[in-house]
């Protein structure tokens, strides 16, 4: 194996001897896969594992230095997933938390397939990491512990049930003591135990422990944490691409000769995604790109403006067409019969992910073997795509799962954007490692946005003052249609567009949900909390308007419709209680509430806003969260705090607009995200639960927008239905 430069996490691929390491075995990993499948999930059979040099390094290894390395099936990008997975292993293993290291692993779906999504492919997304890992990684830790105990029992000639394990030390009442390292070799040679015993929750010391610190924090305060942009390899070149200025435009001509003469430029290469300038350094590549003078053929490009698109969407929303996707009772008749109605037309803009690390990937094709470094949310997919482009077998594509400098969905692209670019260049330059680095402008104007949508909602109150009718029509692009994942459409319907509407928790007797999927040449993608980013806003602002119309308190009105949704009720009551809902506020302050379930997690938020001279700010957000068992309470709090800031930036400022097909925003000055001075105080209260853990990376986002908008409506008496809200109300 080529050895990467210092500082690059070494992949164990082919380089590990069994000696000195123990791991949950392939047999157990594979054999138990079936039993773990989520009930009801579509579960295609897991593919046969690729040849694995060492099957004993699937989930953890114990090094000769006593360090326990947990091999996480999930990409770390700030959400704390590595810590979460390691917590499960350390708990069951009986490890000392301070001896834990975390590495993300990939390349074998039998080990690392996402159990919350059927298990057949590896994916970090949909806030599924903890639900996918809950059984798998506790079992891996427990298996390793049982093998170590058995080895110690054998060595000490004592019954296994007399061997104690705590903080990485095995001990016996006779006074014998040893560390994991002392028994690793013997344990690795033992047959696997047939019955696996997990700890009683009463004995947990790490799961649920808010005092557990993240192992990856210190490196992030010294500059030592490496990301894809930091990968160092001998002879590494940097590539910058000139991509179409409008989506769908193609290359007509460019001046390669002039650019090749520039200092540091190695080559100019046309790829299917644009023209690449490959140079010794980023700055040289960037200067080279400036000199390319690419002429584009825009005859097939998307040239509409977002203003035109919104006008078309509004018309489509009004025409009552679309695919009926959900229905209860007769919503049209109930709406027509009602005396008190809300008619809402809502507009949601395109949104950029705008992660701090601009998109990038490193590829190196040498002697029939391709190595790929990146923030890989979908490693198997990228492995297959890379193998096809490079013309090598998938098993000869080695994946290096780098920590991502934020992602929010952006590193899970069905069209494998930056992966295709990097591998295409690696193929054109065999033997040369190449990093494709997007500039901020490339990243911001490069599409793959949260789609723009128009919602038309017609809702009404019955004579009893309860919601009697709800007609909801969503118009906008499908995230899946026309992509490599089109097979995930159900009867031609993209469920990610309407999630959060058809499954709304309120008891409403007449409900009709329709969907119009539009064809626009702007590539779109999942963006932190996906469909819930807009559906929660629509449902929870209209629900608030209905409460006002009914003359009821918005929280009490919601609770009255949540009889069959106890977990919604619980978080809403908790957030309202902690926020002092109903108690007097200082002059100029107003509250708004929202509750929403996404990715199996229930979140309620009460936002407190101040309005002065037409300018508003959010002062405080009180959050209540039910995500099942809280594996890492402090990470849950951190994710919800961050979700509040992420969502607030979007509803206050976030919009990508197009003029004549060209994106108008290209950096953080024109696409504003939240800054320090706009961050509210955030309180997070976690519901005590014995349910299996669900996700937390995304569910804190959806309720924030409607909670803030509802508070602003309390303040002004007006309702703004077009996002972003802007600085003034």
């Amino acid at each position: 194996m080529r050895s990467p430069a210092p500082g690059i996490p070494a992949r164990p691929q082919g380089s590990l001897s069994r000696r000195g390491f123990i791991a949950a075995s392939a047999a157990v990993a594979g054999g138990l896969v079936v039993g773990f499948r989520t009930a009801g999930a579509e579960a295609p059979p897991a593919p046969a594992p690729p040849p694995t040099p060492n099957p004993f390094d699937a989930y953890l290894r114990i090094g000769a230095d006593g360090r326990v390395t947990v091999l996480s099936a999930h990409m770390e990008g700030g959400q704390g997933v590595g810590t979460g997975v390691a917590t499960l292993v350390a708990e069951e293993l009986g490890a000392d938390w301070n001896s834990i290291d975390i590495e993300a692993a990939a390349g074998n779906p039998v080990y690392y397939g996402n159990m919350a999504m059927g298990g057949a492919f590896q994916l970090t997304g949909g806030s599924t990491a903890m639900s996918s890992s809950w059984h798998r990684y506790r079992q891996a830790g427990a298996l390793a512990r049982q093998l170590l105990v058995a080895a110690a029992a054998e060595a000490w000639n004592v019954p296994a049930d007399e061997v104690r394990v705590a903080k990485g030390v095995l001990s016996h009442a006779s006074g014998r003591r040893g560390t994991f390292v002392d028994f690793v070799e013997r344990a690795a040679a033992l047959p696997l135990p047939e019955d696996l015993k997990l700890k009683d929750p009463a004995d947990w010391r790490y799961i649920g422990n808010a005092g557990l610190r993240r192992p990856d924090t210190a490196a992030k305060t010294t500059g030592a944490q490496d990301y894809t942009i930091d990968v160092r390899l001998p002879g590494l070149k940097t590539a910058v691409l000139a991509r179409p200025p409008k989506f769908g435009a193609t290359v007509k001509a460019f001046d390669a000769a002039a650019v090749r003469r520039l200092p540091g430029v190695v080559d100019v290469i046309e790829t299917p995604r644009g023209v690449a300038v490959v140079a010794d350094t980023y700055w040289q590549a960037l200067k080279g790109r400036d000199a390319l003078g690419v002429e584009w053929d825009e005859s097939r490009a998307e040239t509409r403006s977002t203003g035109d698109l919104f006008a078309a969407y509004r018309k489509q929303a009004a025409d009552g067409e679309g695919i009926p996707i959900h229905g209860l009772g007769d919503a049209s008749a109930a709406f027509a019969a009602a005396d008190h109605r809300v008619e809402a037309l809502l507009e949601f803009p395109y949104l950029a992910h705008a992660a701090m690390e601009p998109l990038n990937a490193v590829a190196w094709l040498d002697d029939g073997r391709l190595e790929l470094w990146g923030g890989l949310q979908m490693p198997d997919h990228y492995q297959a795509v890379a193998a096809e482009i490079a013309g090598v077998a998938p098993g000869n594509v080695v994946l290096h799962m780098m920590t991502a400098g934020g992602f929010f969905g952006r590193r899970a692209t069905p069209d494998s954007d930056v992966i295709v670019e990097a591998v295409s260049l690696a193929k054109a330059l065999p033997g040369v490692p190449v990093r494709v680095q997007w500039s901020r402008e490339d990243d911001m104007t490069g599409g793959r946005y949260r789609p723009m949508y128009v919602h038309s909602v017609h809702a009404a109150l019955g004579a009893d003052g309860r919601v009697s009718a709800w007609k909801h029509h969503v118009v906008g692009q499908s995230i899946l249609k026309g992509t490599a994942f089109e097979a995930f459409l159900e009867n031609g319907i993209d469920a990610t567009v309407v999630e959060g509407i058809d499954d709304m928790p309120y008891a409403i007797p007449n409900l009709a949900v329709r969907l119009t999927m539009t064809d626009v040449g702007v590539p779109v993608l999942w963006w932190r909390s996906v469909g819930h980013t807009h559906t929660a806003f629509a449902v929870e602002t209209v629900m608030d308007d209905l409460a006002r119309l009914a003359g009821r308190d918005p929280v009490e009105f919601r609770l009255a419709h949540l009889d069959k949704s106890p977990r919604h009720r619980r978080v809403l009551e908790l957030a309202a209680d902690k926020a002092g809902w109903g108690t007097p506020l200082p002059a100029g302050r107003h509250r708004g509430a929202a509750v929403h379930r996404s990715f199996g997690t229930y979140v309620a938020q009460v936002a407190e806003v101040s309005v002065a001279d037409g300018e508003w700010r959010v002062e405080r957000v009180v959050c209540a969260v039910d995500c099942g068992i809280a594996v890492n309470p402090d990470i849950i709090r951190a994710q919800v705090e961050g979700s509040v800031g992420f969502a607030l930036g979007a509803i206050a400022h976030g919009a990508i607009t197009l003029t004549g097909g060209a994106v108008d925003q290209d950096n953080y000055d024109s696409f504003r995200i939240l800054r320090m001075n706009e961050m509210p105080a955030v309180e997070v209260h976690i519901v005590d639960s014995a349910e299996p853990p669900t996700g937390i990376g995304e569910p804190g986002v959806p309720p924030l927008g409607p909670a803030v908008a509802n508070a602003l409506t309390s303040a002004t008496g007006k309702r703004q239905r077009v996002l972003p809200l802007g600085a003034r109300v």
């Binding site: 924090t217 305060t221 942009i229 992660a355 701090m356 920590t403 951190a638 992420f646 953080y668 001075n677």
Partner: protein
């Protein structure tokens, strides 16, 4: 061109318009300083030039040739130590990509202002973007570090 970084002088052959950021990253292989925007909008590339925070992504290396540059790798001192301890105690970073810049900005703030108010923190830190929005913890950590420094002075 000569460049003095973290007390060490480097002899470099680079185009004079190359931003300091890329000299640090691509020529000196000091990658703790991050590229975020290239337009002095995000603060991920914050270094000190003669002790004052500067955006290295828009500063031509030639303009820094006579200055003493400090990067996250060379950041030392009581304020920096207190900031790092507070960052670690409170687990401030999420993805961590912006945090080199955040730590640089926070340490400099505490050097200048040992007891910053929330308004002082807003002024000093609002140029440092964090897409994970760790701002609430950054604020807490700065207050905590300030408290620790204060306790140290009184001890």
């Amino acid at each position: 061109m000569q460049l003095s970084v973290n007390g060490k002088t480097h002899e470099l052959d680079v185009a004079p318009d190359t931003p300091l950021l890329w000299v640090l990253r691509d020529h000196l292989h000091m990658t703790g300083t991050k590229f975020g925007c290239g337009k002095a909008q995000c603060g991920a590339c914050t270094v000190y030039v003669n002790g004052a925070p500067a955006r290295s992504c828009m500063l031509p290396a030639a303009g820094a040739a006579s200055a003493e540059i400090t990067t996250i790798e060379g950041l030392r001192g009581p304020a920096a130590d207190a900031v790092r301890r507070a960052w670690t105690t409170l687990d401030v970073p999420q993805c961590g990509y912006c945090q080199s810049g955040q730590v640089m900005a926070a340490a400099e703030l505490l050097e200048r202002n040992p007891a910053p108010t929330d308004a002082d923190i807003d002024t000093a830190m609002s140029g440092n973007l964090c897409r994970c929005a760790t701002y609430a913890r950054i604020r807490r950590a700065i207050h905590q570090a300030a408290g620790e420094l204060e306790a140290g002075r009184n001890a």
